[in-house]
Structures are given as C-alpha cells and as structure tokens.
C-alpha cells in the first residue's frame, strides 16, 4: 500500500471539501443557534480554496490512485462550475433557511458532501468511482429534499426521489456489470480498447449501452425518465431545488459525457441514434407540458427537463461526427449547461424569496402585478425568463445559438429546426409569467400580496446570476474558448 504525494495533491479539492464537511458537521452541535451562519461562511471559505486549487489544475492530463481519478481540463471545467453554483446556493440558503425557519447546521455539511460526490463523478476515470460519486451525491440530495419535515410534500419528494433514484442506480450498475463482463475491467480506457478490438456488434454491448443510458437518463431527468422531476422539484425546499436543478444536472452531464465519450466512444454511432430519440421526446414533452402548469416551481421543473433536451442535441451531433466537429458539439453542451446554471439558479433564488404571509408564493397567479410592487424583482425575473426562453441579447440565446450551430455544421439541420420550433413554444410559457407580472393588476389586499424578502446575501446571488446572464450574453468568447479547450475528444 502506498499513497504518493502526487495522488493526494490530485484530490486536494475533494479533500478540502470533505474536510470542511466534517468540520461543519462537528461544529454544528457546539455552536449557539445565533452563530450558525458561521457554518455557511466556513463552507464558502472551503469553496474559495477549491477554486484556487482547481484553477491550477486546468492544464495537463494526469491519472491518480491507480487510474481511478483523472485530472484534466474537462474535470476542472465542471468542478469550477460546481464550486460557483454551490457557493451561490449556500448564499441563497443563508437567506432561505432563515425565512423558512429551518436552522439546520447539517444542511451545509450535506451540500458539501453532495459536492464531493459530484467532484468524484466528473473526475472519475473508472466506472466504479463514477458510480460511487453518483451515489454520494444522490444520497445527500435525498436527505436534503426531505428537510422541510413539517410539510408532507417535502417528505413525499424525498421518498419519491429515493425510491426512483435507487432504482435508477440499480439499472446503472447492471449496465456497468455487463461492461465489466465484456472488457474485464471497469476502467474507461480499458473498456474503450476492448470495444475497439471486439467491434460494436456484440449484443451485450448494446444492452449495456441502453442500461447506462437509462441510468444516466434518470439522473439527467430526460424523457421518459423524468417522472420524478416535477414532484421532487416542487416538494423540496427551494434552495435545494435550485441545487438539484443546477449542480446535480451539471455533474450528471459531466459524468455522462465522460462515460459515453471516453469509455463508449467507439460505439458512438449506436448511442447517438438512441439519444436522438430521447432528445426529441424530451424537447417535446418538456416544452408542451410546461405550458399547462400553474405552479411556477413545476413549470421550471419541466423547463429544466426541456433544457436537458437542448443540451442533448450537442451530444447527438457530436456522436455522429468524429474529429473537430465532435469537439464543437461537446463544447456547445458544456457552454449550454454553464449558461443554464446561471439563469435557473437566478430564477429559483427569486421564487424562494418571493413570499406572502411567510409562505412561498408558488402559484403563477401570485406574480400578478409584481412589476408595480417590486419593480426590481420583476425586472430580474424578466431577464431570467427571457434568457431561459433564449431571446437575445441574453446568455440563453448564446447557449442555444452554439447548440444549433453545432447541429447545422454537423449536418443535422432538421434537428436544429425542430429545436427552434420548440424554443418558440417555450417562449410562450416563459413570457406568460412576464405578462402576468407586468400587465395584470394585483389581486387581493396589499397585505396578502407577495413581496420579496431581501437580504444582502440574496442580493449578491441575484446580482451574480444577472451578471452571468447578461455578461455571458454579450461576451461569450471567454467561456466558449474555455469550453472548447475542456471539451472531450471522440477518438
């Protein structure tokens, strides 16, 4: 048994996050209730340290812990995005937990442990580490979904998420075990070699592909494996919903692309057909069902399903083309998820803090006349929704633009056209909320109308999300070059 210093340095960010999580969990019972905010600041400090360490690991391509962990630009890209998103979630939670009177120190510990799982996922070079990372993330999220224990919906969300998540993990493991039987190893590079040698005609390989696609489909919440999403997103505390919708989706995409490109890249012709079908179903169902929702959290849940569909276009296009074109497709996926993170997080931050009589205003009706009561909040919501709809000059447009460009360059113009049609449909339900906010008169008495509960932390989160949406919309080149640099290559 020997652990080299290089190995430990390679997982230094993970060690910092896990250490901070343990510290938070240990400090929680000692601290007085009034000083529990300290835990959040401790979490943020750990994240800041991680940003520094991971930034220095951006270049290179090294393995650690006998090829279990890989350090490359791809992993660093996702990790940096995850730190950013987690940091914003922690700040949002600072305000949200107070408003909900949920004062649980373990909350921040669980956020950090979930983050550790996500980091293991995106930097795993072995199906074993990727699977264990997924489980670590999911288990933490199951608990966080049920934290609002006085509300039946929150517990229902937790239970549903747990049962379906465990089920999907089982399917994922099935796929992994078949691949292990095929290649004799769980290492992605060995699996890739074995597939190149044996060819892709093996029916066991096809079965493993399908099972892995189903397993990851659950985590990515794509149709037809999306059933849990609306209930879980609606029932969970809103800060947790934001974390699930953004961070867990980003990490799942990171692990998903890693497995399918680096491990199963040789079979890309097979899986790109599979994902074309999933992608079309996701776009159609996500966008159409979102129209009829009356709860804004549910609507955003369906919207997040639809956005996973847009991102899948990039995967499909890249899967059909080797070489440089493939890189463009994957880079557009990375860019899309990064942009999606900012706008979705911003929208959820606003929803969590728009309250009437101490309760979250969750119905779209509650937003009537918001522009008159809270002009600034309504404006922020307007920007996030316009960006989600993909209207220029916001970042949402840039994300869709690069995805559609990749599709056209890859010779799949028809897919781009279909996606544009669905994007137009999606504008309907996003702009409906804008219309409710700006055109409708508020109902009821002044006291019963929803208002934004502001706090410095919340303002900072909203400002960051808005800056991300606007600045990335105007100057996308920096992020784009980062994404092309980080995107995986189909060999």
């Amino acid at each position: 048994m020997s652990i080299s210093l290089q190995d430990l340095l390679a997982i230094l960010p993970e060690l910092i996050v896990i250490g901070a999580a343990c510290l938070v969990l240990a400090l929680d019972p000692i601290l007085e209730t009034a000083k529990k905010d300290l835990l959040a600041w401790l979490t943020l400090g750990a994240l800041a340290m991680c940003i520094g360490v991971t930034s220095s690991q951006m270049t290179g391509h090294t393995y650690a812990f006998s090829n279990m962990v890989i350090l490359d630009a791809y992993a660093a890209f996702w990790k940096l995005l995850l730190y950013l998103v987690t940091g914003l979630t922690v700040l949002l939670s600072l305000a949200y937990l107070k408003a909900e009177r949920l004062r649980i120190g373990e909350y921040y510990g669980f956020i950090l442990l979930a983050l550790a799982g996500m980091m293991v996922m995106v930097s795993g070079a072995d199906l074993l580490t990727i699977y264990l990372g997924t489980e670590l993330m999911s288990l933490s999220l199951y608990v966080m979904a049920g934290l609002k224990r006085t509300e039946a919906r929150s517990l229902e969300a937790s239970a549903k998420y747990f049962v379906l998540g465990a089920f999907s993990s089982g399917i994922l493991l099935y796929g992994i075990s078949l691949l292990y039987g095929l290649a004799g190893s769980t290492s992605l590079s060995v699996i890739a070699e074995a597939i190149t040698m044996q060819g892709t005609s093996n029916p066991i390989l096809s079965l493993a592909l399908v099972l892995l696609a189903v397993g990851f489909g659950f985590k990515l919440a794509v149709v037809p494996f999306h059933m849990w999403t609306p209930d879980v997103y609606q029932g969970s505390p809103t800060s947790v919903t934001a974390f699930m919708a953004v961070a867990s989706k980003a990490a799942s995409f990171g692990a998903f692309l890693r497995v399918f490109v680096e491990g199963l890249g040789a079979a890309s012709a097979d899986w790109s057909v599979l994902f074309t079908i999933i992608c079309l179903a996701t776009l159609a169902l996500g966008n159409l069902v979102a129209i009829v929702q009356t709860s804004i959290k549910r609507m955003l849940a369906y919207s997040s399903i639809a956005h996973a569909g847009y991102a899948l276009i990039g995967v499909v296009v890249a899967g059909g083309h080797r070489g440089d074109g493939a890189g463009g497709g994957f880079a557009s996926v990375l860019l899309y998820i990064a942009i999606y993170s900012f706008m979705t997080l911003g929208a959820f931050a606003l929803i969590g803090m728009l309250r009437k009589e101490g309760q979250e205003s969750e119905n779209i009706e509650d937003y009537a006349g918001l522009a008159k009561r809270e002009p600034l909040a309504a404006f922020f919501m307007l920007v996030f929704l316009v960006s989600l709809a993909g209207i220029p000059p916001t970042a949402g447009f840039i994300g869709k633009f690069y995805i559609f460009m990749a599709a056209v360059n890859g010779g799949m113009t028809w897919l781009a056209v279909v996606a544009v049609v669905f994007a137009a449909i999606s504008a309907f339900y996003y702009l409906r909320i804008v219309m409710v906010m700006y055109m409708r008169e508020p109902e009821g008495t002044v006291a019963s109308q929803s208002r934004l509960e502001t706090s410095p932390a919340l303002s900072f989160v909203l400002a960051c999300a808005l800056a991300g949406v606007v600045l990335l919309g105007l100057f996308p080149n920096g992020l784009w070059s980062l994404a092309t640099h980080a995107a995986p290559l189909l060999k």
Binding site: L25, F65, L102, I104
Partner: protein, 170 residues
C-alpha cells in the same frame, strides 16, 4: 471428505429453502432462511472462499434477515394472507431459472474464465488477504468514497428521524 460436506450443505440448503416457502408462520420461515444462509456460507468455505463466507453471514444473516424480521413484526402479517395466487408467476420463474442452470452446466466446460487474478494465486495467499490488499491499494479511492456514502446515510437517517428540527422560539 469434501463430497460429504458438499452433500450435507446442499441437502440442508435445499431442505430449508423448501421450508421457507412451505412453513405457514412467517417468523419460522425467516428462521429457516437463517439456517439456509449459514449453510450457504459453509458451502463457500469448502470452496476456499473464506471472505465470501464471512460476508454471507455478516450481510445476509446479520443484516438482511433482521430487516426481514422487522418487516414481518411491523406488519404482523397473518399467515393465511401470504399467497396471492403466485403459483403461475413462481412456476414461470422457476422453469426459466432451471433452464438457465442447465444451460450453464452444459456450457461451463467451454466458457472462458473470468479475467483478473487466477484461482491458484488466491489459494496461495488466501483470498481475504488478496481482497484486503486490492481494497487498500488499487481500490483505495473508491473504498474511501464508499465510507463517505455510509457516513451520509447514517447522518441522513438521524436528521430525518430526529424531532424538533424546526425552531419554534424566535
């Protein structure tokens, strides 16, 4: 000598398995299952898979069976409600499994052996040592991640079951 042990374990496993489904009291069924688990572990010992034998007892007899008993006691199932016309399903599954076993027996001589270290190497150093060595060298990182998963599961269960999370005094 080996054959005597094999036939003893095999006979008890088959006998207790029948008892698990045939006994009318669920608690007796669970106890028959317990005896079966122990004999399966014995079978592993005759195959020089000591680690597997220990795991079999710790996990199945120790954890899973206790879980069964808890469920049986919590639900207090009455014995006559146990069978909801499961015969067709059970028959179908049984026939499928039997065919599978037969196929495996026929093919076992031609099937390729599993990759990785050979059986002889395991017999030399003892398989428990080999598993430990692999866990603490090659698989050290996943092993530690798994320990974190257990930590999360433990704390999560405590949080979800604990009383008065929500602060009432403001």
């Amino acid at each position: 000598m080996n054959h005597i042990f094999f036939f003893y374990f095999a006979a008890v496993i088959a006998g207790t398995s029948v008892l698990v489904v045939a006994l009318r009291n669920p608690v007796y069924s669970a106890l028959a299952l317990l005896i079966m688990f122990f004999h399966v572990a014995g079978l592993y010992v005759t195959l020089h898979a000591e680690f597997l034998a220990a795991v079999q007892i710790v996990v199945y007899a120790g954890a899973i069976l206790v879980l069964y008993l808890f469920v049986v006691m919590l639900l207090s199932i009455r014995s006559e409600e146990r069978y909801h016309n499961q015969l067709p399903v059970a028959g179908l599954l049984g026939v499928t499994l039997c065919t599978e076993v037969l196929l495996l027996l026929i093919q076992s001589r031609t099937a390729p052996s599993a990759p990785g270290r050979s059986v002889e190497a395991a017999a030399e150093t003892g398989n428990t040592e080999m598993i430990g060595e692999a866990l603490y060298s090659t698989y050290l990182f996943p092993f530690e991640v798994a320990s974190l998963i257990l930590l999360v599961a433990m704390i999560g269960a405590i949080i979800l079951a604990k009383k008065d999370i929500i602060e009432t005094t403001e």
